[in-house]
């Protein structure tokens, strides 16, 4: 016979612990990276970079990396936004980071939002029209599109619309030192945003579509759907209010995950279109062995992943009462 039955640990707590552990591992890695590498790190790292250090810079870097101020103080400096100074760009890391962050957010956020909503709506509509030619056509199109990697769509779009037709710019997020009111600036930004945005939307849309449609297919067979239709609920209401809500969860999950991995999510697209987001920043930093920037980006990435996944767990419990009441 069992002793006093213990209250089972809530599953979500374990999840939190895992991700905390993951974040700590990442932070520790970024802290320990210079110390792990063999040899005289500073000269080894900077020998191959575009940056030539003066004697003082080298000395100060050496002392920075050899002094073991400990993990604790490293964490503290991070929280107070003292992320160090980039030697490749001669600017504080936080400045570089916060300069690139809005562009990445703009690009990924918009792309994900549009892909999510458009994919969701088309998925629902397609599932509703199960068996028709429209549905089959959409599925075929989506499957094919899903199979084309972002590099290919990105390069093709860039080539046709920017290089050959010159309808859109081939690089940058906005025209440097452009003069003009707010409206012209906004249009300029959108103009530069168009191509990378389209590339990402084309990359994300088919997946969302297929995901929604599959979820909807499973939902539509449920008895409560038959009830709703029998009741005479108008078709659109049935689709969106009764059925789709249940298919919403996977799509929102994916949206969250894509945001979580935002830094690297758009890296290739950013490079193709020379869009100055966090991906480009990370890549340039790696090329010039600019450790402070690399550390900051790796760090931020882990923190974002942690934050988003944790909040998603919380979100589930709110959205789906079944989960809340499961335990």
């Amino acid at each position: 016979m069992d002793a006093v039955p213990r209250k089972p640990k809530p599953r979500w707590l374990l999840g939190v612990v895992s991700f905390l552990a993951a974040a700590l591992v990442m932070i520790y890695l970024s802290y320990a990276l210079p110390r792990i590498l063999p040899g005289d790190f500073v000269t080894a790292a900077y020998a191959g970079s575009h940056v030539t250090l003066t004697a003082e810079q080298e000395a100060s870097l050496q002392s920075l990396y050899s002094q073991d101020t400990g993990f604790g103080s490293y964490l503290l400096r991070l929280v107070t936004l003292d992320w160090g100074y980039s030697h490749a760009f001669l600017a504080p890391v936080s400045e570089l980071f916060l300069g690139a962050l809005p562009w990445t957010l703009l690009l990924l956020g918009t792309a994900n939002l549009i892909a999510m909503s458009a994919g969701f709506v088309t998925g629902v509509e397609a599932a509703w029209r199960h068996g028709t030619r429209t549905e089959k056509g959409l599925i075929a199109g989506a499957t094919v599109l899903e199979g084309i990697p972002e590099i290919c769509t990105g390069v093709v779009l860039l080539f046709i619309f920017a290089l050959k037709l010159q309808w859109f710019p081939a690089a940058g997020a906005e025209t440097a030192y452009a003069e003009g009111g707010l409206f012209t600036r906004v249009i300029d930004v959108l103009h530069h945003l168009a191509l990378p945005l389209c590339t990402l939307i084309l990359a994300y849309l088919p997946g969302n579509f297929l995901l929604t449609r599959n979820s909807m297919m499973m939902v539509m067979k449920a008895p409560y759907m038959v009830t709703a239709r029998a009741k005479g609920v108008p078709p659109r209401r049935v689709r969106y209010v009764h059925a789709a809500r249940n298919a919403l969860l996977p799509v929102v999950t994916r949206f969250g995950l894509r945001l979580a991995f935002m830094i690297t999510g758009a890296l290739v697209v950013e490079r193709i279109n020379s869009y100055p987001g966090l991906g480009t920043l990370l890549f340039n930093a790696i090329q010039s062995r600019d450790l402070p920037v690399i550390q900051a980006v790796v760090l931020f990435s882990s923190l974002i992943v942690l934050a988003v996944i944790l909040s998603m767990e919380g979100l589930y419990r709110m959205i789906d009462p079944r989960i809340r009441h499961a335990r």
């Binding site: 020998a47 970079s49 030539t52 600017a91 570089l96 081939a170 249009i187 300029d188 959108l190």
Partner: protein
Amino acid sequence: MIREKRIRAVVAFFCPKNSLIQEISMKKRPVSHLNRWVGILLFILVSGILSVPDLGAVKKVEEIRIGDGKGDWGDPNPYRHYPRGPGYVRMSWVFDTLVWKDRNGYTPGLARSWKYDPENQSFIFELQKGVKWHDGTSFSSEDVVFTVEYFKKHPYQWVPMEAVAGAQGDGPERVIIKLKKPYSPFLAYVGGTMPVIPKHIWEKVNDPVRYHDQKAFTGTGPYKFVDFDKAKGTYLYEANREYFLGEPKARRLIYMKTGKPLMSLLSNKADLVNIQPDMAKILKEKGMTVLENKKGWNKKLMINHKKSPFNQKTFRKALAYAINQQEIIDKAHRGFGSPASYGLLSPDHEFYNPNTLTYKPDSLRAREILESLGYTRDASGFYEKDGKPLQVEILASNISAAGESSTDRDGEIIKKQLEDAGIGVKLTNMEQTTTDDRVRKWEFDLAISGHGGLLGDATILNRMISPRFKGSVNSARYGANPELLGLFDAQNVEMDVGKRKALVWKIQEIHADDLPAIPLYYSVSMSAYNPGKGIQWYYTKGDMAVGIPISQNKMSLVE
């Protein structure tokens, strides 16, 4: 249900009976809903595309945009710009020199006339009247005197001051610069390159390299410095309305970073860009003006002549015979370029010696020479001596030419050519800073380097050959020939042009014979601009300042 009725009522009210819109709105087929959404989406997309204004193409000469591949060349003041041509150019918009050059040669800068006084070994400059600094203060000879003294105390990397004894103002509009001994490159290297800095600002500055203040950018130049974004690689300048040679043509001048110069030019994002030679044809077809510079930039094979077997002149000649210059041009650069003169100076230079030795590619001759030096062939056709195979290491890297950096196959082709002559080759590709470092420390066999300046003052030969220039990674630092060393000193003090030419001819002759380094080819330097803006850009005669092969001469925006 009710909502649909209401919508239909509204539509019926506004649209004529039996119109298409009414028909569509009456239809109940579910497919039309989807179509409606698709239609709306398409409408937004199309109107978005069509309504975008082109921000790059601005009104005529309101703004000039120059495109550049790297972007960041340092802050545009004398002590903070990067030690390369483009860095100097960006500084030259803000700061003036005494003498400048345009497409025809020397032209007045801050000095409206100048002459050399051989008795007193000094240059006399008559300065322009009514020149003001960007902050409103008046310019005078005191600023020139101050600049000379300041550069002597805090050396400016591009202006060698060893020959200058001092400067003296003779009234506010006249300055006399005295030399320690005759110095023929004076006008090119000092008069034409030295940016004049304001006394009232810099006299308080003891550490010019760390001087970050906005005042450090006060000059007399046609453009005032406004902004520089290092991360984005952009520069912004505004016209100096009171420029002493006249108001500049463009209100704003912008440098922007672009990886695709042709695209930027064609889409009006940039007005002037450096281009690759194969872009020329297309740009001309689209109505752009294409400029090609004279031969001023070369690729060179540096040789470690302090080390055996490279210390033997005959061995170096064998290398020269093994190398086929034209083949490198054809294979690595699609035929764009011209074989270099072994005397080092450019064929377009006024002191060019056409009679120097040439080494027609002859693999057999190379082998003969090697055999005469005691090398024997082994089974595979490679040479060895005393049991040790003949092995050399070539260092190659991506070299920046006129600011644009590129990797190429020169190393691979040279490797193959040397191997065909029986010399074993190890090719090592590294970053330019690493290669430079090893060359500087003499830790190499052969290295591929590149430099310009071959159209500038003939003292470039000193800089590229003499052992005096230790720090330069492009200098052969060759001290084994005393006659050559004597000629270097002689040409620098010979103020008579005719006599100097004879000395320079002799230098080239010896260089082609001794081969401390083997010049490979002159690359094609081209840029293109949009003539629609009304500005004419050009390559400066003898190249800008000390020999910068860039077509961004500030005079294009003045007069």
